[in-house]
Amino acid sequence: MLNAVPLPAVLTLAAALFCIGLFGALSRRNLIGVLMGVELMLNAVNINLVAFWRYFEPRYITGQTFAIFIIAVAAAEAAVGLAMVIAVYRHYVTVNADEVDQLRG
């Protein structure tokens, strides 16, 4: 792996994935679509962390540890985010971000 695939290739993949995720998070109207974009971005970050861990210091656990923390945070974010989506839907009967524009319920 190390000899076959250079580190920049993995990093390029991660960057592309991050940008696609960012596009999704910024341009989607559906709140769940936005959350999915965020998940993509978090995955891209994880790929980066793992790649750096593997190429630089495979015998230490820092990279993997951070990746696991990010996975945990992502899970928490998904849970809270989706709970909020459901709450918003209950209140506004829509999950489109640009229609949720009333401060008074």
Partner: protein, 217 residues
């Protein structure tokens, strides 16, 4: 052997990128979520290729097994599934596209101008390389990263409680599931409201207070 690894990496990368592109571009939200799951799988495969076995398994366990199921559940609970005839992207999506492409270019610049990463030389093929596995990870969590580990634990607990509190509905205030007739009535009311531009007072129905159309496209 190297060629095999390169081909495999290329396939995985292509798979991840295509799946991610489908996630943000597909109209149907469910399809989008399914592509997201495919993307998670691709990332898990990449972890395997990077010899982060434990992480790959955790990726499948958490993302595929839990997060994606959560997303699917949320989509089905909000009943905005098919997305036919509904605009899925905001009106300013070209701007966003330009911004993301610019960002990608910025990130790629160092690579393009041949930045040296000073990657330590890999050991020759065949020699066993000490790689941190699950045992080392576990040890790290209770020594080096104890505080962080605790914080993540607290965060997860708080998120759990918070999610419950946010999505919680008291028994008495639980919204009745609308019948088809009621939904049609609601839709009719909304259409009338947009035509006259003067929202009529809608009586009694709490969900009918929303006078904007559910869809514009």
């Amino acid at each position: 052997m190297e060629v095999v690894v390169q081909v495999v990496f290329g396939l995985i990368a292509l798979f991840i990128l295509v799946a991610a592109a489908m996630v943000v571009s597909v109209r149907n939200v469910i399809h989008s979520a399914l592509w997201l799951i495919a993307c998670f799988f691709g990332v898990g495969a990449l972890y395997l290729l990077l010899q982060a076995e434990f992480l790959a398994v955790v990726q499948v366990l958490v993302y595929v097994g839990a997060v994606s199921v959560l997303i699917l559940f949320a989509i089905m609970l909000t009943r905005q599934i098919s997305g036919e005839g509904v605009r899925q992207l905001t009106s300013r999506w070209p701007v966003v596209l330009v911004v993301t492409v610019l960002l990608f270019a910025t990130v790629m610049a160092p690579t393009l101008i041949n930045q040296q990463w000073n990657v330590p030389p890999a050991p020759p093929l065949g020699t066993p390389e000490p790689i941190a596995g699950p045992a080392e990870l576990g040890r790290g969590f209770v020594n080096e990263f104890l505080i962080q580990f605790q914080v993540v634990g607290v965060l997860l607990t708080v998120a759990l409680i918070g999610a419950i509190v946010i999505a919680f509905e008291e028994r008495a205030r639980r919204r009745r599931v609308l019948t088809l007739a009621e939904e049609l009535e609601l839709k009719r009311l909304r259409e009338r409201a947009t035509q006259t531009e003067t929202p009529e007072p809608v009586e009694a129905e709490p969900v009918a207070r929303e006078t904007r159309p559910a869809s514009e496209g």
